[in-house]
């Protein structure tokens, strides 16, 4: 049976304020990006304006003092960070040392896989990463073929905030270069995923073979303009 031109409803929203309006205090957010590359700039700023508090944020890094997730940190909206590396942020250091901020450090590959697993309906998996280190404390282990592995849990978020390069109105996403990083995984693991992009086209304009993330994972789609795309460490060769 052919479905003809059956097409789902557009997921495009026009207001970031509206897109984050139901993110309540105490929510768990999974946020894409690596350093300041591929971060959902506008969703983060909208959330700062909204002032949602007691957030648990799962993200590889925590931005810098005055940009990215660092904005939410400076505004004291984050209760707990789950990250692999947080060394670029002084606000983070102050809040962590004063006990205001709870931190769970997770090896980067374990973090990526925990998010992917969460999105894929896998509650836990075994990995050698972290064996014999403080990461293994209190965790179940199991031997496979003579080697010991740790049990790590999948992560699911109430919301995911992600940034892609292009999308069609159904939320099919295409990422650009290393700005992809944690974004597709984060999108999979959000109960509600808010994706912001630099260009939105009509369904059919993206080649199905070029789509990195199927729109099934995206609930809300927004167009951002004039992205700052700050560079953390500018390294260039003089011409």
């Amino acid at each position: 049976m052919q479905r003809g031109n059956y097409m789902k409803k557009s997921k495009v929203m026009n207001s970031f304020v509206e897109a984050v309006s139901d993110i309540e205090d105490g929510s768990t957010l999974i946020v894409g990006g690596f350093g300041l590359s591929g971060i959902p700039e506008f969703s983060i700023q909208a959330l700062k304006e909204k002032g949602t508090k007691d957030l648990t944020v799962v993200s590889n890094n925590c931005g810098v003092d005055d940009w990215g997730l660092g904005l939410l940190l400076a505004n004291r909206q984050i209760k707990k960070m789950i990250s692999s590396y947080v060394g670029e942020n002084k606000t983070f250091e102050q809040q962590f040392l004063s006990g205001e901020l709870e931190v769970e450090l997770v090896p980067q590959g374990t973090l990526a896989e925990r998010i992917r697993a969460g999105g894929a309906g896998i509650p836990g998996f075994y990995t050698a990463t972290g064996m014999g280190t403080p990461i293994a404390e209190g965790k179940e282990t199991k031997d496979f073929d003579g080697k010991t592995y740790l049990l790590e849990r999948g992560i699911v978020g109430d919301f995911a905030l992600v940034k892609a390069w292009k999308a069609d109105t159904l939320g099919n996403l295409v990422f650009r270069k290393t700005a992809r990083n944690f974004n597709p995984l984060a999108a999979m693991a959000g109960k509600i995923t808010i994706a912001e992009v630099e260009e939105i086209v009509e369904p059919g304009e993206l080649d199905p073979d070029e789509i990195h993330l199927p729109g099934i994972y995206v609930q809300r789609l927004l167009l951002g303009t004039d992205y700052q795309k700050r560079i953390e460490k500018l390294t260039v060769v003089k011409a």
């Binding site: 350093g35 896989e113 998010i115 403080p134 390069w165 990422f175 597709p184 390294t235």
Partner: protein, 217 residues
């Protein structure tokens, strides 16, 4: 580049073989990239999702969507590929990376590595180091032999929290090169101009001397 770093980097580049897929850690290991022979077919992996890191871009050509794991702007070589973070670590944990070269704070005589945390000081996080030491086919650590107070960084037991247990295969310092074998730590090379006496004095860990000991050239 500091003289001690240069010695370490010059020796470390000999570990890179034509055709390898290599991950270089932040710090001294990153400097190895510049010394790899230009006729080698090497792909350098970056944990944030790039296999095939190129040179730094020309001024004005930098792209904020193209960075390495140290958050520096880079380029991609012909034949490079981009992927997400789960794919990146599948590649690492699945044993597809031939060689990982990492920096170290302490290495023990059992080949334990500590390089991510100093208790009581700011905790920055381990990034991808714990995954790399458990996943790469070969793990080599580069570090200065002693700290700024002159104390040995090669310990009987690591005093800092571990990154991985019995994970280092080879250690390259500004004074010597050691291998980690089932029979313990083995001194295989001494850097040119360094005496055995100096290596012994500055190494807290116990080691045996290889019968094939050579001077690094």
């Amino acid at each position: 580049m500091k003289d001690t770093h240069l010695k370490i980097v010059k020796r470390a580049v000999k570990e890179v073989e034509d055709g390898m897929n290599v991950n270089l850690g932040i710090g001294i290991p990153t400097l190895v990239a510049n010394e790899i022979p230009t006729d080698f077919n090497i792909l350098l992996q970056s944990e944030n999702g790039l296999l095939g890191i190129g040179a730094y871009p020309l001024e004005g050509m930098e792209d904020p969507d193209l960075i390495n794991a140290g958050k520096e702007t880079v380029t991609a070589v012909p034949g490079a590929s981009f992927f997400d973070s789960a794919e990146s670590f599948a590649m690492i944990r699945g044993g597809h990376i031939d060689l990982a070269i990492l920096g170290g704070m302490e290495v023990s005589e059992q080949g334990d590595l500590a390089n991510w945390m100093i208790p009581g000081k700011m905790v920055k996080g381990m990034g991808g180091a714990m995954d790399l030491v458990n996943g790469a086919k070969k793990v080599i650590v580069l570090m200065e032999h002693v700290n700024k107070h002159g104390e040995s960084k090669i310990k009987k037991e690591c005093t800092l929290p571990l990154t991985g247990k019995q994970v280092v295969q080879r250690l390259i310092t500004d004074l010597a090169v050691f291998d980690f074998t089932p029979n313990g730590m083995l001194l295989i090379e001494i850097q040119e101009g360094v005496s055995m006496e100096e290596v012994k004095t500055k190494t807290e860990a116990s080691f045996t001397v290889s019968p094939e000991l050579v001077s690094t050239r």
